[in-house]
């Protein structure tokens, strides 16, 4: 019943020339999404991917188990000296991420262009 979460990684360059790894999610982010969230993150080269963006544009449903996976990703990124940014969240999930404090550890932007321009 839980819809499968898909993810893929794109390599971009910011307007100021910084390399950025973007993990794009599609589907629900729930307890079954560990491979799509943590697996995709762990596939990044931690030495070269110092700037990581999470694209939630294709995500409609995130529950507390999914938020826990995002926090787990943020913990690993923090321990690896990476900075994490997120974009594409709906207004509701922007509110939820803010309520649980994720915004202290990952800046939220409306669009990919806004997130890239901030670097």
């Amino acid at each position: 019943m839980q819809s499968e979460t898909k993810s893929r990684v794109d390599k971009l360059t910011s307007p100021h020339g910084y390399p950025v790894a973007v993990i794009r999610f599609e589907g629900d982010i729930a307890s079954t999404s560990k491979d799509a969230v943590i697996g995709a993150y762990q596939s990044l080269n931690k030495e070269t991917a110092k700037l990581v963006m999470l694209d939630f544009t294709g995500v409609e449903y995130i529950n507390s188990s999914g938020i826990a996976l995002i926090i787990q990703l943020l913990i690993e990124a923090s321990n690896s000296g990476q900075k994490v940014y997120a974009f594409g969240l709906s207004p509701h999930f922007t509110k939820v991420f803010t309520m649980v404090g994720i915004t202290k550890y990952a800046s939220l932007y409306s669009t990919q262009a806004d997130a890239l321009a901030s670097l």
Binding site: S64, A68, I71, K104
Partner: protein
């Protein structure tokens, strides 16, 4: 005092993760019929989903022989949602999640469901079953017509 007529909708869900989305959709449909604005419908959806996940994981302990009930009661000014399971109910509230403690490994990354429920609806209470099971959580979201 005039009697207001309420409408009741009942749903029975299997104890399987993912079926909380059926409860979410049903609650959202009722809330939209009542005239709730979109942002409050989204709040309700997350609160209902988390209540059902708690019922599936903790109340019924993922026992697929059991089911989770949801009863929606739509009144003129509020929507009440009861999510029922076969657990004993909560004896004490979990601590409020702390993102800094989570980031530093001092508490687990999970444990935000009840916090989200409390933050997103107007009233919430956890009611243990009188017989040691059949407990429920009761949520109320109020229709603020001025804001609608």
């Amino acid at each position: 005092m005039s009697e207001s007529k309420s409408t009741t909708v009942e749903v029975r869900l299997p104890t399987k993760l993912g079926y909380e989305k059926v409860a979410m959709s049903t609650a959202a449909s009722v809330a939209k019929l009542m005239g709730f604005p979109e942002d409050r419908v989204e709040d309700l959806k997350t609160a209902v989903a988390e209540a059902c996940i708690n019922a599936i994981e903790h109340g019924n302990r993922l026992n697929e022989k059991l089911s989770v009930g949801m009863v929606l009661r739509a009144d003129s000014d509020a929507l009440e949602v009861k999510v029922l399971d076969d657990g004993t109910g909560m004896t004490k509230q979990p601590p409020r999640p702390d993102i800094d403690r989570k980031m530093h490994g001092e508490e687990g990354p999970r444990g935000m469901g009840m916090f989200l429920i409390q933050a997103l609806v107007d009233e919430v209470e956890w009611v243990p079953g009188a017989d040691g099971k059949s407990s429920y959580v009761r949520l109320v979201i109020k229709l603020d017509k001025a804001a609608a």
